[in-house]
């Protein structure tokens, strides 16, 4: 199992940023998600976030909403998410689960932490869990040896950034812009300042997500962040492909392009 620490140490040694790819479990199919994520790893992703599909994804834009909806329609359950993590972790990437809080809350924090760790997961990203409510999850994660990643945003005050960073292990997720997930024409100018502010409060790596989708954007972000997170752009490739084989090829191409970007 590759730890997040090892990922960022390796990237630093190679004088580049880490590449983090996101894909929801169960999309385009249960097996297809493992295949696509494995292709992403083979083409250069260091870390994979497996999304746990949730019925009310209120910080996601249309692309991820669409993928998540299909996944739920496919009947994806938490057991499938864990199986996906297991499959992807086998590829050698550090594998996280990204999830809204309610599914973990309902499943049971301790049980979820235990099951994720035994599936080979290294931690979670929880976009709607704030430090105020994170206590039980921090305890459960620590006991299971899982990392905890929380988000900071351009609107975050320095106090908030410090508070959020304190809850993080592994890395801090900097949301590049005020908005929902989804690829954009250009990366928000707010991202660089946010990374700088975050770094003044923590020694952890800071990764930037939201709105990154091309090699050039990845190169730009890699200039100031420790990691580049890409989600919707991968999903878009799968959604637009006429069949699964084409989709896989397309995802692999994008991962390779982004991997070159973070090395520029």
């Amino acid at each position: 199992m590759t730890t997040l620490q090892a990922v960022f140490e390796k990237a630093r040694a190679e004088d580049r940023a880490a590449l983090v790819g996101y894909l929801p479990a169960g999309f385009p199919t249960k097996e297809g998600a493992v295949a696509a994520a494995t292709a992403m790893v083979e083409a250069g992703c260091d870390v994979i976030e497996i999304g746990l599909p949730y019925s009310d994804p209120l910080m996601d834009g249309p692309t991820i909403q669409d993928a998540v909806h299909r996944s739920l329609t496919n009947g994806t359950r938490i057991a499938d998410v864990l199986r996906t993590v297991e499959g992807v972790a086998r590829s050698g990437a550090a594998t996280l689960v990204m999830t809204y809080w309610n599914p973990i809350d309902r499943y049971g924090a301790e049980r979820f932490a235990r099951d994720l760790a035994s599936a080979g997961g290294v931690g979670t990203i929880t976009p709607d869990l704030t430090p105020e409510e994170a206590g039980p999850w921090l305890t459960a994660s620590e006991e299971a040896g899982l990392g905890t990643v929380f988000l900071v945003a351009p609107s975050s005050t320095d106090d908030r950034i410090a508070r959020v960073a304190e809850c993080c292990t592994g890395f801090v997720y900097a949301a590049s812009l005020m908005g929902v997930t989804g690829a954009r024409e250009s990366v928000s100018v707010a991202a660089e300042g946010l990374v700088k502010r975050t770094k003044s409060h923590t020694d952890l790596p800071v990764c930037v997500g939201l709105g990154v989708g091309t090699g050039a954007q990845a190169a730009e972000v890699a200039g100031y962040a420790d990691g580049v997170i890409v989600g919707s752009a991968f999903i878009r490739r799968l959604l637009d492909a006429p069949d699964e084989a084409t989709g896989l090829r397309s995802v692999r191409e994008l991962a390779a392009e982004l991997a070159r970007g973070v090395r520029r």
């Binding site: 949730y54 019925s55 009310d56 994804p57 209120l58 910080m59 834009g61 249309p62 909403q65 909806h69 739920l72 359950r77 938490i78 809080w101 309610n102 599914p103 973990i104 809350d105 309902r106 499943y107 976009p127 709607d128 869990l129 704030t130 105020e132 409510e133 929380f150 988000l151 900071v152 945003a153 351009p154 609107s155 975050s156 005050t157 908030r160 959020v164 949301a175 005020m178 908005g179 929902v180």
Partner: protein, 414 residues
């Protein structure tokens, strides 16, 4: 003081008196319920709203302005109406209606939106967004936005847009942009998701004018406080009418704002039983209902810990109700707290029971209620038979039924 005399607001009216311990704590919790489960990006905005509201609710100038709007624009105080012919069907108990249907725009929602629109101006924001189910909150928000010169965008489930086409037209006429939401179940919960997405994108100049006592802190507290005038008036009025407090207060519960609005002034009156009636839809067994408090389980939805209709893995289950305004799989955290503390009782009323009460009030009293409010009326009929002819039941008639004529025509083959 008589029932028609003005009832000036005081800071105590807005802050609930802080007697029962029913105000949320610093984290926005009512017991274990409430709090904030939102993207970090929204925390500063929620902090800003909470801080400004703390100032506003102790600012006499703000309260005076709110009070003035309630009187001269919304039509407050609303009257009480006793409905003896209707009550004959409830075993002879006295039934008294709080006539929120007589407010401007036709439902209690106007109280909250006027308060929050004033708050929006204090925040220096120029744009409001809102979600709406039945369209009543959307219409009320569009109304307040027109009155105060604010840009207004309303998110409404595509299914609801169809069910409530008349309200869509009203909102447009009032200058609002109505955005039909066609993802998920295409109803209120999806409209809320979409409004949150807009808010996080445009938060620098936009206030999310939340329509019910759900959502992340401080919305449950703010919306309650602005709706609280319903109970403050009714408590004084019913004592003038009957020389005592009622035995029971009944209200419909979707998100729960009209119910909390009338309950709150009675919370410290132990002799007054509080009853919330949820939408039972096609019945418990059918699985097609909105019985969040009576059939749901504790979880997190739309930023708040509360009772939720969810499956064993925390996926929200789509609710059903003939009334769009109650068609919501969550409920305000203070109701969850009132339920668990035993202070209030919650029961279900089916579509059919609600529609019978709807028609009965029209025929016996010449009042056409909203289908939402008809759930409380059906509940009152049940309560009356339970509590006996000596009992007095105060019912929040939260809105009027003009908007429901399409549904009624279909249901009754009119």
């Amino acid at each position: 003081m008589t029932a028609t005399e003005g009832i000036p607001l005081t800071p105590a009216d807005l802050d609930g008196g802080r007697v029962y311990g029913d105000d949320p704590d610093v984290l926005g919790k009512f017991g274990v319920f409430g709090g904030r489960y939102v993207p970090e990006a929204l925390i500063p905005a929620l902090d800003e709203v909470a801080a400004e509201y703390e100032k506003a609710k102790n600012d006499l100038e703000f309260l005076r302005e709110f009070d003035h709007l309630l009187r001269t624009y919304a039509g407050r105080p609303t009257t009480l109406t006793e409905v003896p012919r209707f009550a004959e069907h409830a075993g002879g108990a006295r039934i008294v209606l709080k006539r929120e249907d007589l407010t401007h725009t036709g439902a209690h929602k106007i109280n909250n939106v006027l308060g929050q629109a004033l708050l929006t101006k204090r925040l220096g924001k120029t744009r409001v967004i809102a979600e709406t189910g039945a369209g009543q909150h959307g219409v009320a928000t569009a109304t307040a936005a027109a009155l105060m010169g604010l840009e207004c965008v309303i998110y409404m489930g595509a299914v609801d847009c169809e069910r409530q086409a008349l309200n869509v037209a009203r909102m447009k006429l009032l200058g609002a942009t109505v955005v039909p939401v066609s993802n998920g179940s295409q109803t209120l919960k999806d409209a809320i998701n979409e409004a949150f997405r807009d808010w996080v994108t445009n938060v620098d100049h936009t206030h999310y004018l939340f329509g019910t006592v759900a959502g992340p802190h401080p919305f449950p507290e703010i919306v309650r406080d602005f709706a609280r005038i319903i109970g403050v008036e009714a408590r004084r009025q019913i004592q003038e009418l009957t020389c005592r407090l009622p035995d029971a207060v009944a209200a419909a519960v979707g998100g729960g704002s009209n119910a909390i609005g009338i309950f709150h002034a009675f919370i410290n009156d132990p002799g007054v039983r509080l009853y919330g009636f949820e939408a039972g839809g096609r019945g418990v067994e059918s699985g097609e209902h909105a019985l969040t408090l009576t059939q749901g389980s504790i979880g997190v939805l739309h930023g708040s810990r509360t009772y939720v209709l969810q499956d064993d893995e925390g996926q929200t289950i789509e609710s059903h109700s003939i009334s769009a305004g109650l068609d919501y799989p969550g409920v305000g955290p203070e109701h969850a707290w009132l339920k668990d503390s035993g202070r209030a009782t919650y029961q279900g009323v089916t579509d059919d029971e609600a529609m019978q009460a709807f028609a009965l009030l029209a025929r016996t009293e010449g009042i056409i209620p909203a289908i939402e409010s008809s759930h409380a009326l059906a509940g009152a009929l049940r309560l009356g038979r339970e509590l006996g002819p000596e009992a007095t039941i105060l019912v929040n008639l939260s809105g009027r039924g003009d908007k429901d004529m399409g549904t009624a025509m279909k249901y009754f083959n009119l």
